[in-house]
């Protein structure tokens, strides 16, 4: 049996799906109402899953007292109440689809030292969710 722990975090942000590599018509056709020039927003839920041995002294894979402030600092402070396209440098050149947001959050969390980040799962709305578990080792 293997064990993992998942913590759920929340942030609210706006974004606009628009690619400068595409024409106006193509942007409208591909992204539809998500291409609206003023942007729109979501309440995002982010699930961060960690794995590793359970420390017998603490009963924990990693202390939430370490994980929570790490995620807060690396992700929530940078994303919450922000316009992702402008306020998060990585999305100035990358379309902030939730696929890309998932990958960016995973990247920001990989430096967590107390456990391995196994998965980042984002619910953009209650109907859409996205998961990233890193690239398979080659």
């Amino acid at each position: 049996m293997r064990i993992s722990l998942t913590r759920r975090y929340h942030f609210a942000a706006s974004h606009r799906l628009h690619s400068p590599a595409l024409s106006m018509e193509e942007n409208e056709r591909i992204y539809g109402k998500c291409n609206s020039p003023y942007g729109h927003g979501h309440n995002y839920a982010v699930e961060v899953t960690i794995t590793g041995p359970v420390d017998p002294d603490t009963g924990m894979i990693a202390n939430l007292g370490d994980l929570d402030p790490f995620v807060q600092r690396e992700v929530i402070e940078a994303f919450d109440y922000k316009y992702l396209n402008e306020d998060v440098p990585e999305f100035q050149a990358t379309v902030p689809t939730t696929e890309n947001v998932c990958r960016e959050i995973y990247r920001r969390l990989t430096t967590f030292s107390a456990a391995r980040i196994e998965r980042v799962r984002i619910e953009e709305t209650s109907k859409n969710s996205f998961e990233y578990t890193g690239e398979p080792a080659v």
Partner: protein, 141 residues
């Protein structure tokens, strides 16, 4: 292969304290969870069984049978109990979400005779859960 999941809920008290640690260390490591008077949660347990449906019944296992196993092994043991004091399987362990989920896995695994225990997911709150998964399925999930 089909996976079926049954959900049950139980409410229990716990606190985190390691007798090997000093009072200061317990406070530093476990924070507000270290209050030895305890605190409580409404736990939600999701148990997933994997298997092939029986050709005669169309079922992997009878959900009534699973419900009875969960009632007997988990709810009767843990519902409205203090996990530090009243659950012998947790004696000597810190009753974290990880450890409680692992104890539940070990209680259920020998009782599942139709299909195999695939995943135990224990929610301590809606923002925190632990998953135990069968070793060989770990990489597929």
């Amino acid at each position: 292969m089909i996976r079926i999941t049954r959900k049950v809920e139980f409410s229990a008290a716990h606190f985190y304290h390691n007798p090997k640690f000093s009072a200061e260390e317990n406070q530093r490591v476990f924070g507000k969870c270290s209050n030895t008077h305890g605190h409580g949660h409404n736990y939600t347990l999701e148990v997933t069984i994997a298997g092939e449906p029986d050709s005669a019944t169309g079922m992997v296992l009878d959900l009534k049978e699973l419900k009875d196993i969960l009632q007997r092994e988990v709810v009767e043991r843990m519902d409205h109990k203090h996990l530090n004091h009243e659950v012998p399987e947790l004696a000597g362990k810190i009753p974290t979400c990880e450890n409680v989920a692992a104890v539940i896995w070990n209680l259920l695994e020998p009782k599942i005779v139709r299909g195999t225990l695939d995943r135990v997911r224990l929610y301590e709150s809606e923002d925190l859960f632990a998953d135990c998964t069968a070793e060989e399925n770990g990489l597929k999930r």
